[in-house]
C-alpha cells in the first residue's frame, strides 16, 4: 500500500471517479462486484493493473465512508464467493433538518469553533451538506459579534475520536507531567474534552487499573488504535470536570487582607452587589474578616474551590494580598513566595535584599 502509483497520470479526475462510483452504487439493483466496478464505472478502467485497481478501489471506499457514505458489502450471488458492494440508500440521506436562517447562522458560527486543519475541513464539508439540504441564507444577527474558538487539539484527535466512537482501545507514548518521563500507556478511551486551554482524553488506564486523564499535547508520536471495536464499556456517567479536578471538594472561603485599590479582579469576583457594580467600599466585612482586620488593608472574603489554583492567583499579587485564613492556603502561598524569593540567589551577590 501507499506506493502512490495507483493514480493514472491522465484520465478521469478523482472527484469524478468517486462521483461515478457513488451514482453506480446508489443505482445498482442488487450489488456490484469489484470486477463490475472495474469494467463498468468511469475512471476505474484507467488503472494499469489489477493491483493498481485494488488499491484505488480500497482507497476510494475509505474516502467515501469517511464522508458518511454508507457502503455495505453483500454476497454477490449464491454460487460465488465474490463480495458485492452497494450503498445503503436508507442510511445515505441526511434526516430532515429544516434550519431557519437564524439557526443556520448559529451552525455556521459553531463550525468555526475548531482550529485544527482536519476539523476545519470536516466542518466546511458539513456546511456544504447542510446548504445542499436546502437551508436558507444564514442570518447572523442572533449571534452577532460572537467568536467562539477552541485551541487546536492536534494530531491525536482524529484517531482518538475514532477509538472513542467505536470503543476501541488505544496505546500511545505519553510524557508524564510529574517526571517528564515518556512511557507507553494503554487506555480504554471514554471521552475527549476541552477545558480552558487544554485538550484531554479521559479513560481507563489498563496498567494502573484506574480512570485517568491525559493531556493531548503530552502524547508523543502516533496513537495506535486497537483492531477490535466494542472492546470495552464506557461508564454511564463520566464526570469530566470532577476527573480534571475542576470540581474537587467543596467551595471554601478565604479571608484576605488586600492593599486598598489593589487586586481588583479578585475583589470583583467576591462581592457583587445586585446592580452589578463593584465599587470601592462595597466590600463587606464578613464575620471572619472583621476578626482580624489588618490596619491599612481591606479585609475581604473570597470563595475558592481549587486550593492550588487559588494559591497561584493570590501569590501572583505579591504583597498586595495577604492570606489571613485558612491556614493551608496561607502556607501554600508562603511556600510559593519563598521559592520565588530565592530566584535570584544563584545569580550573583548584588541582587540581595535591598
Amino acid at each position: 500500500m501507499g506506493s502512490g502509483d495507483g493514480t493514472p497520470a491522465r484520465g478521469t479526475p478523482p472527484a469524478e471517479r468517486l462521483l461515478n462510483l457513488v451514482i453506480a452504487l446508489v443505482n445498482t439493483s442488487a450489488a456490484m462486484t469489484k470486477q463490475q466496478v472495474r469494467s463498468g464505472v468511469n475512471g476505474y478502467g484507467d488503472a494499469p493493473s489489477t493491483e493498481a485497481f485494488e488499491r484505488m478501489f480500497e482507497r476510494d471506499k475509505d474516502t467515501l465512508r469517511a464522508l458518511g457514505i454508507p457502503i455495505v458489502t453483500v454476497d454477490a450471488g449464491g454460487h460465488s464467493d465474490e463480495v458485492g458492494y452497494r450503498i445503503d440508500n436508507d442510511a445515505y440521506a441526511l434526516g430532515p433538518v429544516d434550519l431557519t436562517p437564524a439557526e443556520l447562522g448559529v451552525v455556521a458560527l459553531a463550525a468555526q469553533l475548531w482550529s485544527d486543519k482536519t476539523l476545519r475541513t470536516d466542518m466546511s464539508r458539513a456546511m456544504t451538506k447542510l446548504r445542499a439540504a436546502g437551508a436558507g441564507e444564514a442570518a447572523t444577527d442572533a449571534v452577532a459579534g460572537l467568536a467562539p474558538r477552541v485551541r487546536a487539539a492536534g494530531d491525536a484527535y482524529v484517531p482518538l475520536l475514532e477509538a472513542v466512537s467505536e470503543r476501541r482501545d488505544v496505546s500511545f507514548r505519553y510524557r508524564a507531567a510529574s517526571t517528564g518521563q515518556v512511557l507507553t500507556r494503554h487506555v480504554e478511551p471514554w471521552r475527549i474534552a476541552a477545558r480552558g486551554s487544554g485538550w484531554y482524553l479521559v479513560g481507563f488506564d489498563r496498567a494502573r487499573g484506574a480512570a485517568r486523564v491525559f493531556r493531548l499535547s503530552r502524547i508523543a508520536g502516533r496513537v495506535r488504535v486497537g483492531a477490535r471495536s466494542g472492546a470495552f464499556d464506557v461508564p454511564a456517567e463520566v464526570d469530566v470536570d470532577a476527573m480534571l479536578g475542576e470540581r474537587v471538594g467543596v467551595t471554601r472561603r478565604a479571608v484576605l487582607a488586600v492593599v486598598p485599590e489593589r487586586a481588583q479582579a479578585l475583589r470583583a469576583r467576591v462581592l457583587r452587589r445586585p446592580d452589578g457594580a463593584a465599587d470601592e467600599g462595597a466590600q463587606g466585612e464578613g464575620a471572619g474578616g472583621a476578626r482580624r482586620a489588618a490596619r491599612g488593608r481591606d479585609v475581604v472574603e473570597v470563595e475558592f474551590r481549587s486550593l492550588s489554583a487559588f494559591a497561584d492567583e493570590v501569590a501572583a499579587y505579591g504583597a498586595a494580598v495577604v492570606v489571613l485564613e485558612p491556614a493551608d492556603l496561607r502556607a501554600d502561598v508562603v511556600r510559593r513566595l519563598s521559592a520565588a524569593a530565592a530566584l535570584d540567589a544563584s545569580v550573583d551577590g548584588e541582587g540581595n535584599r535591598g
Binding site: L19, N20, V22, I23, A24, V41, N42, A66, L67, A91, Y92, A93, L94, G95, V97, D98, E103, V107, Q112, L113, W114, M123, T128, K129, A132, T140, A142, V143, G145, A147, P148, V150, R151, S165, A177, G180, A193, G196, S197, R215, E261, A268, R269, G276, G296, A316, G318, A320, V322, V334, R336, L337, S338, A339, A341, A342, L343, D344, S346, G351
Partner: protein, 349 residues
C-alpha cells in the same frame, strides 16, 4: 493548490440534491451558497453532465437544460437518483454537535435569552437529524464570567451601543473607559471583548472577567473599521498581543516538569525538553508585570530564570510579600509602599 477530491465530491453531490429540490437557480447564487467561484460552478456542472450510471449512454447521465445554462441559470433535468442530501459523517456530526453544545453553555450565549433559544433549537435539530448524541467530545468554552457584565456587554454588542467600562488590567491597574464593542471572543477558557477604545484611540482587547463594571451608553457605536463578526483574523494576537510580541525582550525560564502547563498556555517562542525532564521556555514579553506574576505563582517549579534582572525583579516582589506576611504575623500595620511595581504595566488595555 488543487481542491481535495473528497471536498469536490461532496459539493458535486450537494449541487444535484439542492437543484433537484430548488428548481432552476442562477450560477451566481449557487456560487454564493456553496462558497465557490461562478467559474467553479460551471466546471462542476460540466463534470456532472458526463457522470451517471455505467453504460454512460445519454439516458444514463445526469442532465441539465443547456439553454438555461447559456443564460446563467442551472436547471437540473435528470438527477439519476441522487436527489437526497448526504448525511453528515461521524466526525462531522460529532464536531458540529459538540461545538453547538459548547456554544449553548457559554456565558456569551447564556447572557441573552433569545440567543440561547436559537442555539438550543439549532442544536436540537442537528442532534435529531444526525442521530449524534456527541458524548464522545465534550467542550467547555469559558468559566465564571459575571453574568451581569456579560449580559450588558453582549446586549450592547447586539444593539450596537457604546459601553462604559471599569476595567482592571493584568498589572492590577484600574481604569474607566468608553469602548465601542466589536466582538466577543471566547478562547482558551476565557471570554474577551474586542472593541475600539475611545480613550486609547485604538483597537483593544479586554478580558471579560476583569471588567469590574459595565454600563451600556445611549450612544450608537461608530464604524472604526474593525473586523466584524465571523472574520477569522488572528485571535491569538488579540488575546496575547498584550503580553507578548516578537520585538519584546526575551526571557528564558527553566521549569520543572510539573510546570509543563506553563509552556502549553503561554505564547512561548520556543520550548525545549531538557534531558532531566525539565523544560526550557523562551518568551518575549512586553509586560514585565505579567512575567513577574507568572514567576510568583510558580516559584517552586522555576529552576532558573534569565536574564538576571527578571529573576531579581520577581524575587524582590516575593520578599516584599513575605515581609507583609511577617508583619501580619506580628499584627503590625503593613509598611506603606509594600506594593510591588504598580504602574509598570504600560501599554495594556
Amino acid at each position: 493548490m488543487a481542491e481535495r477530491a473528497d471536498d469536490r465530491l461532496v459539493r458535486l453531490l450537494g449541487l444535484v440534491a439542492y437543484l433537484d429540490d430548488a428548481g432552476p437557480v442562477e450560477v451566481e447564487e449557487l456560487a454564493q451558497r456553496f462558497g465557490v467561484s461562478p467559474r467553479q460552478v460551471r466546471e462542476d456542472v460540466d463534470a456532472l453532465w458526463v457522470s451517471g450510471t455505467p453504460g454512460y449512454m445519454p439516458d444514463d447521465l445526469i442532465d441539465f437544460d443547456a439553454f438555461s445554462l447559456e443564460d446563467g441559470v442551472v436547471a437540473l433535468t435528470q438527477a439519476r437518483g441522487m436527489t437526497r442530501p448526504l448525511r453528515l459523517g461521524t466526525r462531522e456530526a460529532v464536531a458540529l454537535v459538540a461545538a453547538l453544545r459548547a456554544m449553548h453553555a457559554s456565558p456569551a450565549v447564556q447572557a441573552d435569552r433569545g440567543r440561547a433559544a436559537v442555539v438550543a433549537s439549532a442544536l436540537d435539530k442537528l442532534t435529531a437529524a444526525t442521530g449524534e448524541a456527541a458524548s464522545a467530545v465534550d467542550v467547555r468554552l469559558a468559566g465564571d464570567d459575571d453574568p451581569q457584565v456579560m449580559a450588558t456587554v453582549s446586549g450592547a454588542l447586539t444593539r450596537g451601543r457604546r459601553l462604559h467600562l471599569r476595567y482592571v488590567n493584568a498589572a492590577d491597574v484600574v481604569s474607566e473607559r468608553d469602548v465601542d464593542p466589536a466582538r466577543l471572543v471566547t478562547q482558551d477558557g476565557s471570554t474577551y471583548l474586542v472593541g475600539w477604545c475611545l480613550r486609547a484611540g485604538g483597537r483593544r482587547t479586554f478580558r471579560v472577567d476583569r471588567i469590574l463594571a459595565a454600563r451600556a451608553l445611549d450612544v450608537p457605536v461608530e464604524d472604526h473599521g474593525l473586523p466584524g463578526p465571523g472574520s477569522s483574523d488572528d485571535l491569538g494576537a488579540d488575546v496575547w498581543g498584550q503580553v507578548a510580541s516578537r520585538s519584546a525582550p526575551a526571557a528564558t525560564l527553566v521549569l520543572a516538569s510539573a510546570a509543563r502547563w506553563v509552556a502549553e498556555e503561554v505564547p512561548a517562542e520556543s520550548v525545549r525538553d531538557l534531558p532531566d525532564g525539565s523544560i526550557e521556555v523562551r518568551l518575549r514579553v512586553t509586560n514585565p508585570a505579567w512575567l513577574r506574576r507568572l514567576l510568583l505563582a510558580n516559584g517552586p517549579d522555576v529552576v532558573a530564570v534569565s536574564p538576571p534582572e527578571v529573576a531579581r525583579d520577581a524575587a524582590e516582589a516575593a520578599r516584599r510579600a513575605l515581609d507583609a506576611y511577617a508583619l501580619d504575623d506580628a499584627a503590625v500595620e503593613p509598611a506603606p509602599g509594600a506594593d510591588p511595581g504598580n504602574g509598570s504595566g504600560g501599554g495594556l488595555a
